[in-house]
């Protein structure tokens, strides 16, 4: 019974969220709010993409910003240098980044825990160096200008991309859900808990990690590429930034990494908070302090995220206490068993 009511609750929540996302553009009072909406959706896709790796396998990557940057640059370069149509370029770019994620993942996923985090940071820094230095190809610090896919007025441009991001988000969330309920997903989660044990139980851990890393990279690249088409100006310093990567982690954590909509909720919260800090403390570096403090609070007091915290709260209101201790003595158990035989 609690299962059914829970399902109804979740169902309504999803419907409400979807409806809110869909009607937002028509309620947005001006193009600026709309463009902020695009940004938040972009964050939501990125955080959800991050969560394929972070949520399932427990490998925390601070380097996903770099994958998004790669997606953006690949899309841009394919349009500019190869003359591909924008969305063909986007698709090819995502495939390229996914392909590149194979060797990257093979190197990075060999190590666990802290080493992996370090590798992911290194990934950002090395790509930054390469994209800055290899100016003849990437445009270097001059940046890369990605032509607009549609000839639309700016507000219309925002609106179209808003819906494109919404579609991408829906696909990413769906993919996450599919994996979450699958055996593949359970295998990934067992990696998160104890990799050796999982392997001994027959899970091809390396292949699993690699597959999910590639999937994650693909979605991240799609988001990055779509962002490039929307935004138009790429600069290595901002495309390959640890800060972006860490915002994704913050969002996913804040929302809850074990939860389908955790990253989305986190993106909405953090995205809005970032805007707010900017407005409030915009002319001082205190926005960094605010971000830092927020992150610290989440890590210290809500390491499982907001959604699970709310879930716990609901559970606590629910009176029925659960306990792990056995409620019958060994003797009673023996009796029961005898009766059952």
């Amino acid at each position: 019974m609690p299962n059914a009511s829970k399902r109804i609750l979740v169902g309504t929540a999803i419907a409400l969220l979807a409806a809110a996302i869909l009607v937002f553009p028509s309620l947005a009072p001006n193009p600026y709010i709309l463009s902020s909406g695009v940004l938040v959706l972009n964050y939501a896709v990125l955080a959800t993409s991050w969560n394929f790796v972070g949520g399932f396998t427990g490998y925390i990557s601070l380097g996903h910003g770099a994958l998004a940057g790669l997606g953006g640059y690949a899309t841009g370069l394919l349009v500019v240098k190869a003359g591909l149509p924008s969305f063909a370029a986007l698709a090819v770019a995502a495939l390229l980044v996914a392909a590149l994620a194979v060797p990257l993942g093979m190197a990075a996923l060999r190590v666990r825990g802290a080493s992996f985090v370090i590798v992911s940071i290194a990934l950002v820094l090395i790509l930054l160096l390469v994209f800055q230095s290899w100016a003849s190809f990437t445009g270097g610090s001059r940046g890369l200008v990605v032509p607009r896919p549609f000839d639309l007025s700016r507000p219309e441009h925002h609106r179209v991309f808003y819906y494109l991001f919404a579609v991408l988000l829906a696909i990413a969330v769906l993919a996450w859900w599919l994996i979450d309920r699958s055996r593949f997903g359970l295998g990934l989660k067992s990696i998160r808990e104890d990799e050796d044990k999982a392997e001994a139980l027959g899970t091809p851990t390396f292949a699993y990690k690699l597959i999910v890393f590639v999937v994650s990279a693909g979605f991240t690249a799609l988001a990055g590429g779509l962002y490039a088409l929307w935004f138009g100006d790429l600069d290595p310093v901002f495309q390959f930034s640890i800060l972006t990567g860490s915002y994704l982690v913050l969002m996913a954590l804040l929302g809850g990494v074990r939860n389908l909509f955790g990253p989305v909720a986190g993106a909405i919260l953090v995205g809005t908070a970032l805007e707010y800090f900017k407005v409030e403390y915009g002319d001082t570096p205190l926005h960094l302090v605010a971000t830092g403090v927020l992150l610290a609070l989440v890590v210290l007091f809500m390491p499982d995220g907001v959604l699970p915290a709310i879930g716990d709260l609901l559970k606590r209101l629910d009176r029925t206490k659960k306990s792990s201790i056995r409620e019958v003595t060994a003797a009673e158990l023996a009796e029961q068993r005898k009766a059952a035989v």
């Binding site: 593949f184 044990k197 392997e199």
Partner: protein, 238 residues
């Protein structure tokens, strides 16, 4: 011939953990592997299941060479194992822990009725069904030990390698586990059990291999081992 190793050797720096272990386990039987602390039993399991690579020697299973294969491949070939220091998935519930051992297969949902029923029945057989929805990290040592056993049995490997299944398990329950092992063996499963609890070993095994310093020094049925002098000297300490 099922699980066998030939001249398996493994040294860690100066310590020779396995020193030419040639062993042949009897298929369809309950085999025991005993020996003093540090005689190389766990290392032997690790080599067999691919967790570490032997320096030399061969591991074969049903005439297939498994030496140096990845652990998951070996597991899929039909060898399941438990760990001496019990290893459960701490933040997964007991039920999920057991389900995680179901052979994996793509995006199909794991929440099939039969899987769950099977998992629950294993928990019940090991006396921890009341913990199905508790996370493993909240369990006592012995409970985790049992949970791990349930996990490996869920995978239904043809050959089950158990590293000290009795460590920390209540003796009353242990009797039941002994019975369970015999039952499963009767269904055709092969067991290789590392254990220091001689009562258990002597009562359930058909064939015993005794290790000392990384190699077998004796083997045979319990009655023979019980009175083997080398075993008495090296292991039982009498």
């Amino acid at each position: 011939m099922s699980l066998a190793t030939h001249e398996l050797r493994k040294a860690f720096g100066g310590v020779t953990a396995l020193d030419g272990a040639t062993v042949d386990f009897h298929p369809g039987k309950v085999n025991a592997l005993i020996g003093p602390n540090g005689s190389g039993k766990t290392t032997y399991f690790n080599c067999v299941t691919g967790m570490i690579k032997p320096d030399s020697g061969r591991v074969t299973y049903k005439d297939r060479d498994l030496t140096g294969k990845a652990p998951h491949r070996i597991a899929r070939a039909g060898l399941g194992r438990t760990f001496q220091l019990c290893r459960t998935f701490p933040r997964m519930t007991a039920l999920e822990n057991v389900l995680a051992a179901v052979p994996h297969g793509g995006l199909r949902s794991f929440r099939t009725r039969s899987d769950i029923e099977r998992a629950m029945s294993w928990l019940t057989r090991l006396g921890i069904e009341h913990l199905a929805r508790s996370e493993a990290r909240d369990m006592s040592w012995g409970q985790q030990k049992l949970l791990e056993l349930a996990g490996v049995l869920m995978a239904e490997p043809e050959t089950v390698l158990l590293d000290e299944p009795a460590g920390g398990v209540n003796p009353a329950l242990l009797d039941r586990i002994g019975t369970l092992i015999r039952e499963l063996n009767a269904e055709g499963r092969t067991f290789v059990i590392v254990e220091h609890n001689m009562d258990l070993v002597m009562s359930i095994s058909d064939h015993i291999v005794v290790f000392d310093r990384g190699r077998p020094i004796a083997e045979g049925p319990p009655s023979v081992i019980r009175s083997d002098e080398r075993v008495l000297g090296a292991y039982l300490g009498v």
